[in-house]
């Protein structure tokens, strides 16, 4: 920068101004400075700027589990992508901070915030805030936004899809088709998404006046990243039932996909003998056998919105963002669901 100043015949402070606030520098000198900067190939040193200003232009993405990607699910990668793109368009960069790892790595996350490296954080499906001893990300003094999980009760602006409502309406659709008995493949016990989706199912049954025993619940012991295993387990459980429900509803697509894939070789026709509904809308669902009916997460929109809200939080001139933003899921009706067989349910035996 000193070189630029020298070449343009001005002081470094003028160069600084010309670059930061073009309005406060005369047209002529600004042109000289810009030309000089161009000629010298000047690139501002962001590290020095950060030190001086006391804030960086880096935002941290705090990811949920050890895995960015698991099974067939693209939801975390898609959200991540969308967040990164939106931030990039606004001059910010995204640093990824995986959880999972050693305690040292866990400690690292709040330190990034306190240490001035990151300016804000976006929690992508993270269940708990990283903390180490007394210091937690929550009191690190940087703005935080949560996507996918609703943490508005903790005062953290959240951008979510209305999983509960989506599941309720989808199950009501199945009920409308004639289904009266359900098999539910639960997500990880205690997880946010499991609570919402399972709740939506319950609400639908209640709304239709069906008793609790209309649904056989299974699973809950697998993490989201082990969706395929969960689906296989669930399939075995369903196959072993004396009275098999006519509709299987999974907490997430991975489980639904593995479920279908496991029951079909046992002579179960989907959707003839059994309708299957997934959740998440993973792209490959359209190419499963049969194509999987599911509820699509608006991943791109969620990510973009979350980034926008963080940007508002970062901009002191901006209005206060909403504490909770809810986007609709999309019901993708595909061949895996249909009306149940009528006229006496006779379970077909495996060959």
């Amino acid at each position: 920068m000193r070189d630029v100043a020298r070449l343009a015949g001005v002081a470094t402070s003028t160069v600084s101004r010309a670059l930061a606030r073009p309005g406060r520098v005369s047209e002529a000198t600004r042109c000289r400075i810009l030309a000089a900067a161009e000629q010298l190939g000047y690139v501002p040193n962001a590290a020095a700027r950060n030190l001086r200003v006391g804030a960086s232009n880096i935002v941290m993405a705090v990811l949920s589990e050890p895995a960015i990607a698991n099974g067939a699910s693209q939801v975390v990668p898609e959200v991540l992508q969308s967040v990164a793109a939106t931030l990039s368009d606004n001059g910010f960069n995204l640093l990824i901070a995986g959880r999972n790892r050693s305690a040292a790595a866990e400690k690292h996350i709040p330190d990034l915030a306190v240490g001035g490296i990151v300016r804000g954080a976006i929690l992508i499906g993270a269940a708990e805030l990283p903390s180490h001893g007394q210091r937690s990300l929550a009191n690190a003094g940087i703005p935080i936004v949560s996507v996918l999980q609703d943490r508005s009760a903790a005062g953290i602006p959240s951008v979510i899809a209305d999983d509960r409502k989506a599941m309720r309406e989808a199950v009501l659709h199945l009920i409308g088709l004639g289904h009266r008995s359900f098999f539910y493949i639960a997500g990880p016990a205690g997880s946010y998404h499991e609570a919402e989706r399972s709740g939506g199912l319950a609400e639908a049954l209640a709304a239709a006046g069906l008793p609790d025993r209309a649904v056989v619940r299974h699973g809950g012991g697998h993490a989201f990243q082990d969706g395929f295993e969960s689906g296989i387990d669930a399939a075995r459980a369903w196959l072993a039932l004396a009275a098999r429900p006519t509709a299987a509803v999974a907490c997430w697509d991975d489980a639904a996909i593995a479920f279908m894939s496991t029951v079909r070789p046992q002579g179960v026709a989907v959707p003839g003998d059994l309708s299957v509904l997934g959740f998440d809308g993973v792209p490959v669902g359209a190419f499963c056998e049969p194509p999987l009916a599911t509820l699509r997460q608006p991943t791109a929109e969620l990510g973009a919105k979350a980034a926008e809200i963080l940007l508002m939080l970062l901009d002191r001139d901006a209005a206060a963002p909403p504490l909770r933003t809810t986007l609709p899921n999309q019901l993708l009706l595909r061949a895996s669901t249909t009306a149940p067989k009528t006229g006496g349910r006779r379970p077909r035996r495996a060959p």
Copy 2:
């Protein structure tokens, strides 16, 4: 830090040393300093350290296309994950820099390097080096490593799987099963992976003494992220052929999955009428109908190795890393391939 020094009754430089090189400070004072730091909840300001040292502990991941995730492919996310984990274990952070956005964003990438924000870069399947005007990532003065794509010819240490060999051996396996006619679903024309995999197929045919016309090539017009569309197009083309090859080989799993999914409803039995082979080893392949035979990319190993090599480059005391590291793909034989039906079309001669 001044506060810590004051509380411990030492100079700031001593605090700095105690934290950075514990060996060069006496046991007693070091304990006092650590206690004081703990008590005050001191966290070093990384921005200041970066400025002073002239290097950050942030590494940039340069991603290929607009999409981190597409179709069913988890290869980029998986590599990303592995890179992030390995870096994190060594005290480094990962910044993600998406390509293909506005020109401004493209310019941003080299600037991050020159501006002192990032210390090194890992190209994850990126075809070209980001550049803007004269300035490119290549001459930004930071170490670069490439994963998935071989850029060793350009002097960039590369960590890759041997796609060519893997494809060759897999196709030789199909030939061993009796297949003599192939349908190849090409990847993006001119792309590295397409060249390697297509080349491997050609090598296998040549090795078995089969003529060039033993393979009908299709596609090449779709980007990797449009794998499903590519597979559908290819399926239509295959269905329209008068003499249908008995084996379809896809450049990537997404295409293979959509291909299978499109031909089967037309009465084509897989693998009875047609064997299908994919490439990448996406997890969901095991749950397709039929389960997809494929060549798994060792994503976790690739990512970890790439990160290790970058760490070597960053450490001036370390030995020079190899310019090219090749890891084996794994042939996952699943139900989508089998011997071709005999009787109808008789192979002219067996090799």
